[in-house]
Symmetry: C2
Subunit: 472 residues, 2 copies
């Protein structure tokens, strides 16, 4: 007998949690599609040579390699000296996107708007809330040769629509611009190579605090003048509240280098576009401490936080980059994208008690009194399904109490009962286990009555359930 268990570091859900998770996936997908993004799925494994274009680094140390039995046996026979296996699991969706766009370039229409919602794999140290397998939900717009900054302005509107539809609380999209940052560094006399290093320090403000970061900046490695370090910290403290305030704070930064002014102009244009798209001004803010470590980004950078749960950190991040796939193609492919780490977000929401897993997605259990009623129960179930209801049929007669108990335990709200008497009179009795009430309805009106009750429940309880109809 082998103990049934999952490998450490994965989040496996019970069915009704999975329903809630699936609802979030569906909501995100629907919103991405409303903004004209097309679905892409890539294989879970890629050729190691293709996936790991850069050797070394944190990423490669976390990669999972994949080997078929045949290759493994060969490697064992050969004394294991065969080097790394031929394939590896994807660790994000960006490298597969780069490979996909480069491979299929001539079959895609640019700007190419794709979404991708799949699991990725990282051999992280096992730790509470850290997962080795987790969903990423990404969008990217990829241009051929050029991509207007206006695509960077559209992204926060998508973020807004997604989290509005998810209904997990108020949120703020934090905005910064790499050109503004680098332009400011330039103005402070911080040269090209050092800029990336300073960026990385600014990125640690949240974790290390101002004092520690300042000490590093004026310390040996960096050797910045104290007033320069103070200037950087003052700059990184800039936060806006509301649209006009954001514009005012941008103005108040004073004149800067051409790069700085370019960044500021783009940020201003982005704010105007968000207003035109009707994104509520409470949902976005300038936050000049947002750095997003990687050198990769060259324009807008985004982070999104839940107003009531800032401790959760960014739930949706991304930015503008200039060259997606330089390892695979000579074409220049600038883009802008964001990623939602849904597994971690779901886990955090569940920890915070914000995931509703009370109900079953099954609307009705059609009860069965005795074997003679089987055909009627089967046929009635089919009628209800044809009307759009999710139906389970009791297939073996049991005491009615047991059937109610089963439905209750399974979280099924309604039980439809048709005894001899009901059949004779062309009616059905509906037991509502949630409200603890019972009513009789004609067979013709049964489906409509159940649909109406489902709809009313969705409207009454603003759970992720009720976002079907769109924004709230």
């Amino acid at each position: 007998m082998i103990k049934p268990r999952t490998p450490p570091g994965v989040l496996e859900l019970l069915p009704r949690e999975q329903v809630a998770f699936q609802r979030m996936l569906d909501t995100i997908r629907r919103t991405f599609e409303a903004y004209g993004f097309l679905p892409v799925e890539t294989p879970v494994f890629e050729l190691s040579e293709v996936l790991l274009t850069k050797t070394g680094g944190e990423t490669e140390r976390q990669v999972y390699f994949v080997q078929s039995t045949g290759a493994l046996e060969k490697s064992l026979e050969d004394g294991g000296g065969q080097g790394r296996p031929e394939m590896a699991l994807r660790f994000d969706l960006t490298v597969p996107l780069a490979r996909y766009v480069a491979e299929h370039e001539h079959h895609l229409a640019f700007p190419f708007r794709r979404y991708q919602m799949q699991r990725v794999y990282r051999g992280e140290r096992a730790q509470r809330g850290r997962f080795r397998e987790f969903y990423q939900c990404d969008i990217d717009v990829i241009g051929k040769d050029t991509l207007s900054p206006r695509f960077e302005a559209e992204v926060p509107a998508v973020i807004n629509a997604v989290f509005e539809a998810l209904g997990i609380g108020e949120f703020t999209i934090q905005l910064n611009h790499r050109k503004l940052l680098r332009g400011f560094f330039e103005g402070q006399g911080i040269a090209g190579d050092q800029q990336a290093l300073v960026l990385r320090e600014i990125d640690k403000l949240d974790k290390r605090g101002e004092d520690a970061v300042r000490a590093t900046l004026v310390g040996e490695g960096f050797g910045l003048a104290p007033e320069v370090a103070d200037g950087l910290l003052a700059f990184s403290r800039v936060r806006s509240t509301g649209h006009e305030d954001a514009l005012a704070r941008l103005d108040a930064l004073g004149a800067g280098t051409p790069l700085f002014e370019e960044g500021r102009d783009e940020l201003r244009a982005l704010l105007a576009a968000l207003r035109a798209m009707g994104v509520p001004e409470s949902r976005y803010a300038i936050n000049l401490s947002i750095a997003r470590g990687l050198d990769y980004y060259t324009g807008m950078v985004y982070e999104t936080t839940l107003d009531a749960n800032p401790d959760i950190g960014s739930i949706c991040s991304g930015g503008r980059y200039d060259d997606l796939a330089s390892h695979y193609t000579k074409s220049k492919l600038p883009g802008v994208g964001i990623s939602i780490g849904l597994t971690r977000l779901f886990w955090q929401l569940r920890e915070a008690g914000l995931v509703d897993v009370e109900q079953s997605p099954v609307d009705v259990l059609v009860a069965l009194f005795d074997d003679a009623g089987l055909d009627d129960a089967l046929s009635l179930s089919q009628q209800l399904r044809a009307a759009g209801l999710k139906v389970e049929t009791q297939l073996e007669p049991r005491k009615l109490g047991k059937q109610f108990q089963y439905a209750d335990r399974a979280g099924i709200r309604h039980v439809v009962v048709r005894g001899e008497d009901e059949v004779a009179r062309g009616v059905a009795t509906v037991k509502d286990l949630r409200q603890g009430e019972q009513f009789e309805v004609s067979l013709d009106g049964l489906a409509d009555a159940l649909l109406a009750r489902r709809e009313a429940a969705a409207g009454a309880a603003p759970t992720p359930d009720s976002t079907e109809g769109g924004a709230r």
Copy 2:
């Protein structure tokens, strides 16, 4: 520069093919849910010890093992003598289901109805139409201790609903019963152990033909009397057409052993249930050659074939089994399930020209004349999205001809144009690229007009597109 390419044996789709694939997944999911099945997802990898409870065999030879970089480095340092890696990719959804049910037994309500739609991995020899990564879409009903044969009767109704909703042509669900088969073998004096071997030969009838199978059965290994072999082949030739014919053919088999009679009674009850559920009689048939090799099955077995494409083979198979998870738990968990290999099916449909990939899922491109029109285009796009349309906005002004060309290439049917004149008059011009027509509509009526056209198109062309509303 590295050549961007996927590993051999995977099916990667272009975006509009992916849309068609996603539509099929959604349709299957919706149908499974209508029958009260709950979603489950399991990790892509399982502990090798848990996944590979039986050693040897075809399955294990096809397994992909997974190793983190750390484990791999250690193994290389140690000379590779560490044996098989700790984790492996799932090769089906049945073993993970067994592990899942055994692990979470006390948190599940039985009979447990679960669906699972995920990719599985097999290191098959690379071959056209054979995939190393492919989707399986499974349902299973798992009982605790017992499970009524009536659940076996419900399964063909689900198969019928799925393939009706997919709209890929007429199909037949082929039915057989293991008790009928084994009971018949008993009657022919074929003993317990030999039954499984005979079953496996019967299973090869399609591939090897009757003569070859007969030769094997009367040959050295089996040594069946010629009249017994002929009886088996005659039995396996039984096929029904229509409901009454199925009953008549069951009657015509004559009396048998108690096991045989039990199988026949269950088949009759199943036929009655299918009629009660309104499954068209053209959609199911008794086919006594269906054996489904594995010892695993103990009751009903199912295969499903497309009437116009019998060469594709079974597109949905499964059956009843008595003990799902004996490796993991002492609980007896009988069940019944089916599996659709969707990647292979999609590939075959595409080969046969039965996949519609002409259209984009994007309904509208909102055009842009000049920078002054940007706010209007952005705001109009948001209005259309709020009405439920999928909208892409032209963000940089280009010649209108270029914008039409882009939409046409991307498969977007409608382009909405608002020049100064249209803005002044409160209207929009809609260019329908498919019909090659153009019309003007008031801004207030624009969303409704576009929704109506989308609906009309869905109704007119019965592609997988139009199955939204349910069965056709």
